[in-house]
């Protein structure tokens, strides 16, 4: 129903069609986008009119509507933002302040007790395709409850994601779900967007690994990346082995049984729960003493008093006695320097050494830590103290002149910060389209442009719809007042 109120430049249209074919819907929308405003009515709430005077729907939005903030300005619907992590997936809509759901990245089949992990890099394409298809189907139809065909997709992912995985994922989105466009956004860059600054040294402590990437003036310095496979997975493995060796179980058959005799292995989600609820990271002095006591080179180091034991119920019939010494020592592995003298803290300093000299001061004063593993109690404080003590060591003292380190606190929890950056970017409808890979482009070339591949043909726009977004901040207007 289209009504034009004569005498006014406001023309209103009611958008409540139940079309049974997408082609008809597109035609309808195009008709209305000629010179109209949109008027949405919902359950008796009176219509609010957006006034447009231009040919393009998206340029001018003079009236803000706080009620309908979930809807895009103009005709386009809000994009879907997905952060597909190795352990957890965060999914939601652009422009919102937090993800709608944080779900484990796995699929449960009816027959088998073990869940299948979604993010696997070593399986063949067919299997990966069907797993990803099922997972994305669940995301859309159980959690987001929207049609895939209507909305653009922003995928926040790591720069070290293998191309094979990225290609399969984009094939799932384009071929099976027929989304209009897909944008792959690096999670380090996205987390900088949540702060309103241009440069930062971002460290992502996730499940499989910890990856450090500096961002300077909106551009990732790709040559200065540093990574260690120290993440949630390594902590779980260590914790499981410590529990099996040292802890006892109380069951119906008797108290004080050792773990391997009763159950073969504790399932990983139970280990994860133990880690989240009982473990923490000690501060620097205490941590150093624990490490010395563990390696006990002189034979004289004394371990500081362990925290109290915890009785953890398993399955409702067994009680696991977790020794207090496990609680504070399992996180030490993140900060223990291995044979190459690398730990999580040295990653940051090594990255600084690799960066150009004039960028170092800015980067060191803008540290951003994201990722689920960094949410352990006491992690940030310990990390800062470690860096500060390491910078005095001979290896770094001469290499790095800057000794001041400062850390940011983004407006979201560390495991959602990258998602939030993706959501902020996804809300910029003016440029989201030009920077994404559209379905037409994908159907023509059959590939996703990748930052590591130079042979991709450029699409017909000024900026390449590639992986690293060109800086839109500083370069925009050199004549800004």
């Amino acid at each position: 129903m289209v009504r034009a109120l004569s005498g006014q430049t406001v023309v209103t249209a009611q958008l409540q069609y139940e079309v049974d074919s997408p082609a008809v819907c597109e035609r309808v929308v195009r008709l209305m986008s000629g010179a109209l405003a949109l008027f949405l009515s919902c359950r008796g709430i009176k219509a609010l009119a957006l006034c447009l005077r231009q040919l393009e729907l998206r340029s001018v939005l003079s009236i803000k509507m706080p009620l309908f903030e979930g809807l895009g300005s103009g005709g386009e619907k809000t994009a879907v933002v997905i952060d597909l992590g190795a352990a957890y997936t965060k999914c939601g809509f652009a422009g919102e302040t937090g993800p709608r759901f944080i779900i484990p990245s796995e699929i449960k089949h009816a027959g088998s007790p073990e869940a299948v992990r979604v993010v696997q890099y070593n399986i063949n394409t067919e299997e990966l395709y069907s797993i990803l298809k099922e997972f994305v189907h669940l995301l859309y139809f159980r959690h987001l409850l929207v049609n895939p065909r209507d909305r653009r997709v922003v995928i926040v992912e790591s720069v070290l994601c293998p191309s094979h995985f990225r290609e399969t994922l984009s094939r799932v989105f384009f071929k099976h779900f027929e989304v209009p466009s897909v944008l792959f956004a690096p999670n380090h860059l996205m987390s900088v967007m949540t702060l309103g600054i241009q440069s930062a040294l971002v460290m992502d402590c996730g499940y499989t690994e910890t990856l450090v990437l500096p961002i300077y003036e909106g551009i990732p310095i790709l040559s200065a990346w540093e990574a260690l496979p120290m993440g949630g997975k390594a902590i779980h493995k260590e914790l499981h082995s410590l529990l099996s060796e040292q802890c006892t179980l109380d069951t119906d058959s008797g108290p004080g049984l050792s773990l391997p005799t009763v159950i073969s292995a504790i399932p990983e989600d139970v280990v994860e729960d133990i880690k989240v609820r009982t473990c923490f990271v000690s501060d620097l002095q205490r941590g150093m003493k624990i490490q010395e006591a563990k390696f006990n080179l002189d034979g004289s180091a004394e371990r500081p008093a362990p925290p109290p034991d915890v009785e953890y119920p398993l399955d409702g019939r067994k009680i696991l006695h977790i020794k207090g010494s496990i609680r504070d020592s399992v996180a030490e592995m993140l900060f223990e320097q291995d044979n190459e003298e690398k730990s999580i803290a040295t990653l940051l300093l090594d990255t600084l050494v690799k960066c150009p000299i004039d960028t170092r001061k800015v980067l060191s004063e803008n540290l951003v830590i994201i990722g689920g593993t960094s949410m352990l109690p006491g992690f940030l404080h310990r990390l800062l103290s470690e860096i500060r003590s390491l910078v005095e060591k001979p290896k770094y003292r001469d290499a790095l002149a800057t000794k001041s380190f400062r850390i940011h606190s983004p407006p979201a929890k560390p495991n959602c910060t990258a998602w939030l950056g993706g959501a902020i970017f996804g809300a910029l409808q003016d440029i989201l389209g030009s920077r994404s890979v559209s379905r037409d482009y994908y159907n023509q070339t059959g590939r996703i442009p990748d930052w590591c591949c130079l042979s991709t043909p450029l699409p017909d726009s000024v900026y390449e719809a590639g992986k690293t977004p060109p800086p839109l901040m500083k370069r925009a207007f050199s004549t800004e007042k």
Partner: protein, 467 residues
Amino acid sequence: MATLLQPEKVLYLVRGEKKIRVPLSQLYFCRYCSELRSLECVSHEVDSHFCPSCLENMPSAEAKLKKNRCANCFDCPCCMHTLSTRATNIPAPLPDDPTKTTMKKAYYLACGFCRWTSRDVGMADKSVASGGWQEPENPHTQRINKLIEYYQQLAQREKLERDRKKLARRRPFMPQAFSQHTIHVVEKYGLGTRLQRQRSGAPISALYGLSLKEGEDQKEITIESAQALDEVEPLPEDYYTRPVNLPEVTTLRQRLLQPDFQPAGASQLHPRHKHLLMKRSLRCRKCEHNLSKPEFNPTSIKFKIQLVAVSYIPEVRIMSIPNLRHLKESQVLLTLTNPVENITHVSLYTCEEGDPDDINSTAKVLVPSKELVLAGKDAAAEYDELAEPQGFQDDPDVVAFRKSNKIGFFIKVIPQREEGDVTVAFKLRHDFRNLAAPIRPTEEGEATSEAIWLTHHVELSLGPLAT
């Protein structure tokens, strides 16, 4: 014998992007393309939203507003069960007379499963049964909205610049010496040059945006960049010696249900509104017709459009299997059911040598060579005691019995392998009358349309060999 009726015993082949073998009960039939479709080769769409506990339909606009959550129902933050509202009577002073007290109703939320109540979290009892409970707000909302506005402004600028560059490229007669800087300068100080006249035919949008920026008093939105902190709070001293009270600490799953807050203590777990479910409609990818469209009403299980395969394609079922022996011929009894109301002619063919679809069969099969005729499905047949015998001449070697729209027939199976399950495959060819859309208007009283012959590849798994 009920195991023979399991759907997985008889599989039909679907030729989509991939060849899939699925029982007929899980397939759809597109009568415009005249092909079988499985769930993998149709496109799914969200049809309507509803709350699973109060079964209330929600129009999609409101669902978007409420972030796909029901307005009335809550989930327990501890065990994710649905919360129920309980009422108690509390003494409260009368508004007119403060000395006298009267009993007033107060409502609180409680979980019947894990005994959690809203009073555990410190939520005050409300005086209305529904609508009084609010979810806490994210403290960072304002900052994030400001950030979005700021970036949108930058994005607008970039878009203008991009459009201008596109313009510049499209007009080849403009001097190439115009660099980006001069264009800036020209725009900043007004287009009083020849450029303006040349560009008069240009689309309105670029210029319009510019004049809007200068004419309208659009404030430049600046935000303060985030401040980095020198010090982070350390763990409190008693953390190392304090015993852990496990029920007080939230599990990871409980925390992740509230992504904005993720509280570590159970005393901060607030209940959230219940998430909605949705009904799906299916659409054929080739012809874009709907294959399945459910009713709007959440309590109704019927469909507005239901093009399922069992109502168009004859279904094969296994009735009895004798002992199967290696290289010995045995007779297997199958039934064939006709789902449509007119007479259907079915013929069976064995798969040829080198048939690309025939990869799983481990036995040779001999199917009846004559055409089988199935009577139409008559809805009133069960009530009609004086049913006339249908005048079909059946070969007793082939057809075992006939009952309204169903016949039982024999096939001969010769297992080729000594071990493993016996699987046979054959082709089923039947005529299909498409009553959907008559191409030409037929004469009055003529209801028949053209019959097309459809062929399906059917696989039966007959179980292990008899030892």
